[in-house]
């Protein structure tokens, strides 16, 4: 079906033919064919580590292909490096923005291609006018003099896109652009992308592993698995199940079969817990709830409503101002991380790079990160490297962490595998309580499915699980009971079987306050606190 369409369509703006890239022991790209038409949003879908990034690095001149060719407007080209790529109209917006936070928007955009008024001084005037023009045209006018560091993540991404537009990009590569955005910001960016393709005829390569987004924004979808193109689809003729199966290579259950919950005694009991954020402001105002053995208690809420601070107070990483938390009757309000670890509390932190892993350390050290001091990994002060290695290799095998060695650094793993490593560490022992803070953020379908299954498995084993997620779908799918956080308060606790998606969404957005007056009052309190 796509055959007839492609014949009717104009010549591709970009064509990659038979691109192959080998790394020692790994075939990263195996004869990949990709064609992108002018004005098309072409999604490149694949799990973490499927070879999407390698392919784009080849396109951007960061890696040289072993075989295959690249054609721009039908002309074969060799791309020698990023500056060469930029000259040919290829621009890339990386997942981790390549912006200098202390420089202004204009300075960031001009960086590397500064317009000179004379040999010594920059010509700012012309550049500022063009930046404003471009911004106005696409509905995101940004002050060229604003410091990039002071912008929100969503706006920083717009600066990245502006940078590409400023350089007259004809082919724009976006690497996981929505990973850091709120749903609202995601919708806005999609609008911008569509406008770009329509008005400027820009071709966009959209790299993602989020099925719903790809279906929403793409004109065509190419799916890559293990370095090979495994299929091409148009959104109208496919669905999430079909794409997931292509991507993972087997039938994927997007929803985990949870079975019946048989909750036992209360494990974690929180009574009137108050917690402050990093700046010392109270952001959790007296929250009470309990999590029972063998149940998953999900906390829903728009990010920044105190959920992260609340769960961190149960892990010893954040001090509780007042109130009490008990674990099986024992007071843990002011327990240290080590005491909690020893009491059987597992914790998968929201920020895995900040808390969960030490990226410059080998997998071995990361697997025993909170057990390093105890037998069998250490006797007295002496570490037992054999025991550590054995444990690591067992964890790698059991939790399907894709790596060929236990001694590579954690930073070299893909995001999904990094999270699996943390899960292996935290799940792989006797637990009473498991705290999961955004356990699947930024992960691919296969990893999400795996982690969800593991969580449900632990629940069947009788572990109490406290789950926080910004994805309401994840909460609804896994939880037995759901607490909704709004402005530091738990405004409702509902049984998941009776939960209504719309109702919870409304609670998350308004806290159940229906009057306009109440909402305005909340806003003015926010303003006072901010100033």
């Amino acid at each position: 079906m796509t055959e007839s369409q492609s014949q009717a369509s104009p010549a591709p703006a970009l064509e990659m033919r038979g691109v192959t890239k080998r790394y020692p022991g790994v075939l990263a790209n195996d004869h990949i064919d990709l064609d992108v038409r002018p004005g098309e949003i072409h999604a490149l879908l694949g799990e973490n580590g499927a070879g999407k990034s390698t392919l784009m690095n080849i396109l951007y001149g960061l890696a040289e292909p072993d075989e295959g060719e690249i054609l721009l407007d039908g002309e074969p080209v060799t791309i020698h490096g990023p500056s060469d790529a930029i000259d040919r109209g290829i621009s890339m917006v990386h997942q981790h923005f390549m912006l200098v936070p202390v420089l202004s928007v204009a300075e960031n955009i001009l960086l590397g291609d500064e317009p000179m008024a004379n040999p010594i001084f920059l010509d700012r005037g012309v550049a500022h006018t063009r930046i404003r023009e471009l911004g106005r045209r696409f509905g995101f006018e940004v002050d060229p003099d604003a410091r990039v560091g002071s912008l929100s993540v969503g706006w920083q991404q717009r600066v990245e896109i502006l940078k590409a537009l400023y350089r007259n990009a004809r082919i724009l590569v976006l690497d996981e652009p929505t990973a850091v955005l709120t749903p609202q910001e995601t919708r806005e960016i999609f609008g911008v992308l569509r406008q770009l393709t329509k008005e400027l005829g820009t071709s966009i390569i959209f790299i993602s592993h989020k099925l719903n987004e790809v279906l929403e924004v793409a004109d065509r979808i190419t799916v890559i698995r293990r370095g090979k193109v495994v299929g091409q689809r148009v959104p109208a003729e496919t669905g999430e199940e079909d794409l997931a199966e292509l991507m993972v290579g087997r039938d994927v259950q997007l929803t985990v079969d949870r079975g019946e919950s048989t909750p036992g005694e209360p494990v974690l009991v929180a009574r009137d817990v108050r917690v402050a954020d990093d700046r010392g402001r109270e952001v959790v105002h007296g929250v009470s709830f309990e999590v029972r053995a063998g149940e998953i208690f999900g906390i829903a809420g728009v990010a920044g409503n105190g959920q992260d601070e609340l769960v961190e107070s149960f892990t010893g990483l954040r001090r509780t101002i007042s109130g009490q938390a008990t674990l099986l009757g024992r007071d843990i309000t002011h327990a240290t991380p080590r005491e909690l670890h020893e009491a059987g509390v597992g914790f998968v932190p929201a920020d895995r790079h900040r808390f969960g892993l030490i990226l410059s350390f080998p997998l071995t050290d990361n697997v025993v990160l909170n057990d390093y001091h105890a037998a069998p990994y250490a006797r007295g002060m002496v570490r037992d490297e054999d025991a550590i290695r054995e444990r690591t290799e067992a964890a790698i095998a059991e939790y399907d962490v894709r790596t060929h060695s236990a001694t590579v650094t954690a930073g070299t793993l893909s995001g999904g595998n990094q999270q699996k490593l943390i899960v292996a560490r935290e799940f792989g022992r006797d637990l009473k309580l498991l705290v999961l803070d955004q356990p699947t953020r930024g992960l691919d379908v296969g990893s999400i499915e795996f982690i969800h299954r593991q969580a449900v498995q632990r629940r069947q084993d009788g572990t109490a699980i406290l789950l926080v997620s910004a994805e309401l779908d994840e909460i609804l799918e896994l939880s037995d009971r759901i607490g909704v956080m709004y402005r530091g308060e738990m405004v409702a606790i509902v049984d998941a079987r009776e939960a209504d998606r719309e109702e919870i969404g409304l609670l998350m957005a308004t806290g159940g306050k229906v009057s306009v007056e109440a909402a305005i009052k909340d806003m003015s309190t926010d303003l006072e606190q901010a100033s």
Binding site: V26, L27, A50, K52, G227, F355, L359, S360, R383
Partner: protein, 384 residues
Amino acid sequence: MTAAAPAAAEPRRRSPVRRLINLAIVPLVAVVGALIVGGVIIFLSGFASGELDPTLPFQAYASLFKGAFGSLRGILFSVLSATPLILGGMAVGLGFKAGLFNIGAQGQFLMGALGAAGVGAWVAGAPGIVAISAAVLAGAVLGAVWGFIPGALKAWTGAHEVVTTIMLNFIAGALIGYLITGPLEAPGFSFSRTGPLGNAEFPTLFGTSIHLGVFIAFALVPVIWWLLWKSTLGFEIRTVGANPDAARYAGMHPALITILTMSLCGLLAGLAGAGQILGISHFMNASYGTSVGFDSISVALLGRAHPVGITLAALLFGAMRAGSGLMQIEAGIPVEIIDVIQATILLFLAADVVVRQALRIRAPSAEPDELQTVTKTYGSGTPV
């Protein structure tokens, strides 16, 4: 299927030899580059005498090498000059591993020297083993105290160690001036100095200048290596240095580790100071001058904050120091050219990224700890 899964993001297996080359290449380039820069300066110095002699740099370096390694005396002097730099280098390098930039090795060295000179003179009449132990211990403890203070200030108040250790360097200098012209001044000398050490002097090996301190320094190299990579404490130090938040998550106490590490750094630098007093100068005067503390920073950077690397770097610096005398006599090149070469080495090291790009060497998967510490600690000032 775990092992066979091909994936672009998967790490490449690299042999230990390649990793070693990748680690050592920039220090090697720095040394060679600095020698070339030094050679050019030596060549240009011919302007002063009116004739440019292209062989002059080679003559100078030949004399330098001969002075350092051409005789047993030269070799021993090289080792002797390297000794305080090994300890001082580890005092700075250990700090790097914990994410601390210890600029205070100088002050810790001076306090160690003061402790050894003061207590050594006091116990001069005791039996050798007692006198030596007391003097060494005094130096180690005073050095450790000079490390503990900035460690505690950082842990408890967030005061940045770069600032506090520099302040403590000055305080140490002033304190020495006061004590040696006052309470610790020995009577009967034409200038202000501490008393004779008597039995607290280090014994030397077969009439050479190699003293007990040399053996202590070299013995501590494997000890520090073991501590860093084989012990739980070393794991805690490295974890706190790499990621203090993850250290807290892992149940460690970053504040405590910071204090402990700084104290250990001070102890090592203090030992270096004690060794110089007990083994070489045998007394301390009010204006005791040294650059060991600052050279130690260069040594730690050149040695990649690794005990073995530090030892090699210290030997290089020691050899240049030892050979420079003959170079001055034979080639007429002032010994100060050594300072130029050492400073140039530091410049090359600081320009790690530039050097790698110029040589097209792939950067290691993570920035070296010591450079990370240097760049990260400046201006961040976040309390642990």
